[in-house]
Symmetry: C2
Subunit: 294 residues, 2 copies
Amino acid sequence: MIDICEVGPRDGLQNESKHVPTTIKVELINNLIDAGIRNIEAVSFVNPKVVPQMVDAEEVLSQLPKRCDIRYGGLVLSRSGFARALETDVDYLHVVTTTSDSFNLKNAKRTVEKATEELTGVVKEGIDAGKGVMGVLGTAFGCPFEGEVPVKRVLEVAETFIKSGCTEITLADTTGMANPKQVESVVASFKKAFGDDLTLGLHFHNTRGLGLANILAGYSAGVKRFDSSIAGLGGCPFAPKAVGNVCTEDMVNMFHGMDVPTNTELEKLVKTAKWLEENMGRSLDGMLMKAGIA
Amino acid sequence: MIDICEVGPRDGLQNESKHVPTTIKVELINNLIDAGIRNIEAVSFVNPKVVPQMVDAEEVLSQLPKRCDIRYGGLVLSRSGFARALETDVDYLHVVTTTSDSFNLKNAKRTVEKATEELTGVVKEGIDAGKGVMGVLGTAFGCPFEGEVPVKRVLEVAETFIKSGCTEITLADTTGMANPKQVESVVASFKKAFGDDLTLGLHFHNTRGLGLANILAGYSAGVKRFDSSIAGLGGCPFAPKAVGNVCTEDMVNMFHGMDVPTNTELEKLVKTAKWLEENMGRSLDGMLMKAGIA
């Protein structure tokens, strides 16, 4: 069984320049739930001045159905975001740092070491506060400024999170640099270092067309949890470069074709993708929604 | 070493509604050669009333550089096409039939049996005439009208070609229905049936976003030859459904990332893709040409 972590409402929507009303965000998540999705990165507790699209994080969460079989995650990048998250019903804190100093300095204005120092505290206190905590490591497959990020480095950052009580880590290919051979190798290193007690997730962007090939490589290496975004949302319409997340329904179509269950209904996912496309008012990246289910 | 069969000049261009001048076709092929491509499906000997874009097949071939290290292929679907091909310098006949009766009846107005009866003759006579012959089996991974095409059926059609002297077979996923598990299984069946004496090629479309995942699966199963199209050419701009071939430079980027050599220069391929996009006057599907080489 594949465990899909749907990131469209967060990683997808945050790249949309036009503000999406809270009602649409909530309807999107309800549609996803209706299609079988049970693990949703619903919001981000970031500075609304930096990411205005996520300004209504608390409001979105308050309007979502509370169900014990559904897990809502919210991104936390700092202590201030953590404080906001604790005031909500969010189930899981997705605590994020990148693993490359150059990238982290540009994005969070501090080194990885400084970031993990603060965030390991957040991990511990989050667990103490009764929240689930997942660590998300960005640029885990390469940094656009530094190039290769040594696996050793990624493992070290993961270890600080794990030592603080994290049992789930997601490796994010922030700018679409991963390739299948590398994915297999990194996953093998993680399995060797942390065994099967660690729930390992993979987060790919289809920037260079390799999203599903990397998912396939991760699956072959034993990973069962994958982030994806309905309709492939995540490409910035005003940026010259494609940066969309792996498309949820395209991924589900691949797995169903391979007789690997995902606990989702493909028709409903495609319907949701088309509904979203109408609401975004532009063509989205998903392929299956255009070609049809074979 | 990956053996790329570049099909942009044929499968790619034939879907373009606007006529592409012979000079551009020739320049495209020259650019591909300069980038290291050595195996090119350059033309199709089809009825120009049906596929007007291929009307200048003879003219294109006559203007290409003759080099013993470069192999030009031309599609042959019938005796009339074969007769035209024999009048040219084309190195390889790519003799095509689909493997599904429903599809073949719609596309070639005859059953698969009738088609192979005629085409096995073409294979033999082509070899006698000193041409290389490759068999191309369409709908090998599924038919949009019949659904699944049994592997047994695909093997049977392949066998008629092989018995006629063909040592190369390419399996084509005509409408983008293949999935990685199926690819592995079909390749294994072919290896079991025909051993390593047969050169097996795979031809995928990225219709449902699975192009590179299927290539990866084929490579893992031992295949070294893949069809692809520069810039992902092949999507029909006026059709509602995406039908592009796997993109050459995106595929090369994947293999180079995996340290698998392709004997091509990625920068030159990307340059050619951008040049082609300018000449086509519309956005093409290739991802790497937009995102940049990482």
